[in-house]
Amino acid sequence: MRKLIVPLCAALTAAAVLAGCGNGKGQQPAPAAAENAAKEETEAAQEQAEPVQTEKTKLTFLRVGTEPERKAYWESSVALFMEANPDIEIEYQECGYGDDFETKLNTGFASGTAPDIINFTMASMGTRVPLGQYACLDEYAAAWEGRDDFMENALTLGSVGDSLYGIAVFPDPRILIYNKELFVEAGLDPDAPPTNWEELLEYHKKLVKKEGDNVVQTGFGLPTSGTNMQHYLSVFIEENGVKNLVDEETHEVLCNTPEAIEAAEFLKEIADAGVIRWDSNNSDQNPFASGLAAMTLGNTTDFHNWNEGAVAGKIAMASPLTHERQATFCGMGFMFMSGETPHKDEVWRFIEFIASAEEMWRRYEELGVTPMRESLRERYVAENPESNGIIYESINCGTGSPKVAYANSVYNAVNDAMERVMYDVEDPETALNTAAGEIQKEIDNQ
């Protein structure tokens, strides 16, 4: 019996290892296997016809999000690039938004298997640039033909200090959207949306409808809670001349400056004049979508979705408001080069390809993404003069999340503060001073 033990153990171990070590590539579904067979045949034929090529540089590209239409776009872009650059092979990967993506990237960087090219958000720069996980692109941008044609603000948003780290691909500006029909009902000119704070407040008051103490229709659809409250405050403090919630360069807290407090007081005035309370975590609750608010802030996707729902055909976009200056919030998706990649030149070639005018226009045609090159501006605006000019303008004057490692603490503190303001727990000055104190504590702990 003992003689049996050793072979039995060996057999079990071998079986376990062999069964476990089966590579995914060897177990593809039938269509994939057939595709591979066809690909191999084509490659073999090419090898016979052409001289032997040098080994390809293999890059991995990880993008945030899993939407099928964007996936189709990226896969076709990668294919087009590889066709034009036969010496480079790109493996496309994707991962969902939020913590999932952060986990994936953190694991990759911690284990030395990080992707070479990363498509991620502006906020990620705050933590990843100081860690050296994103490479500085200044050297490449200096010799880049598209540098002067690229929208200046998009380059600014992709920079930390004076150094460029990200090339913008997916802009996400917050645009003032209004309901023309409700404007007409309130005796307002549907083609003359508000252009400044005074007009906004005046229109808001005219558009509010109450039944007793209940607000049944509001003017400006302002949320009263949720994690996007900071976007709303950002828009108004920047319109009032404040740089951002915090100064990225000096780490000075700006959310409780007199101008910021004035902006919060203005939002409180709007709320006091009558709003329908909703949670900004759930954009579906936005009363604008159901025709119960005449104005709100939304992105281009919101506009598209609302224009297919209850307020279809009744809504339009307006230029960002001006107070001290014209401003809005503008999120952005960027292309980053991994700080660890040994193939920097090849990575830049791909980023340059994605940022080319042709590719930008293809992105617009397939996904409706605004092209961010001056040379495409006229053509883009001509496609839809009513909206596209406003979108371009909003991106051009937009400021995004502060690119600091403690950005999440800033958002949390400001969201809490604004919620306290909206529910009359604290006045704007007290609430924002409390928030500033919390942010300062976080900065001191860094």
């Binding site: 033990i5 476990g20 995914g24 177990q27 579904p29 999932d100 911690a110 996400d172 579906d284 996707t301």
Partner: protein, 287 residues
Amino acid sequence: MKREKRNQIIWALGMSLASLVMLIPVIMMFMTSMKTMEEIKSPVFHLLPATFSFRNYTDAMSNGIWPVYFRNSLMITGAAVLFSLLFNSIAGYAFARLNFRGAKIMFLFLMMGLMMPPQVTMLPTFLIMAKFPLMGGNDLFGSGGTGLVNTYAGLVIPLVSGSYGVFLCKQFYENFPRSLDEAAMIDGAGKWRTYFTIYLPNSKAILATLGLLKAVSVWNDYMWPLVMTNSETMKTVQLALTMFKTDSGVMWNQMMAAAVLVALPMFVLFLCAQKYFIQGIVTSGLK
């Protein structure tokens, strides 16, 4: 007698209510899977959909390559359950019945594994898999390639061992009468034979319990496949569910439809193994 009956009725009502509370998320999931997005977004909540339609199911399954995702999950779960049952029961038997030097210390270390959150070991495990020698383009020293990243082996190997399974088996085997071992020894059976001919055939209850717990945890695991896979053809069903979450919101109707289908194999498995599962819990003394 009357009082006993009354207590029974109260007990039954209480348990029914508790069951209903447990079932609410499942009911909500099923009902949402039948609704349109307009119904879901509606400010007025209705539990029942306006019309029962399986449209969301067909729409959800037409996104992505679901047969491949299900196949991957089934393969990974099957392999992990099979190998973990084998290794855990052998180790449990060894700790319960073999007297060897260092057994107590080894068991103590094993128990420490129970207290270790999986997040702590995730990165070291990932590194071991990524630096696996002679695999995925790696050289003998584990560099140059991707090791077992994005392979079934990389997904399964770290899941086959587990303190919990060994502990469960040890508890179970300790309840076996010693006379069984003695009888086997008198008949000339060695330790392996005793295990394979006496212990293993009498372990249905504990293996079913362990198998079910393992299957559910591997099937539902999200984090490990997330970091270990990077291609569409290696995705598991849990990863695939994220495709309904976009930057502009969540397609709840399709996500819930897909979630119902993803949960179905585990429901069926539990119904099949329910009898053994309860036995296993009782006999291993777990609460």
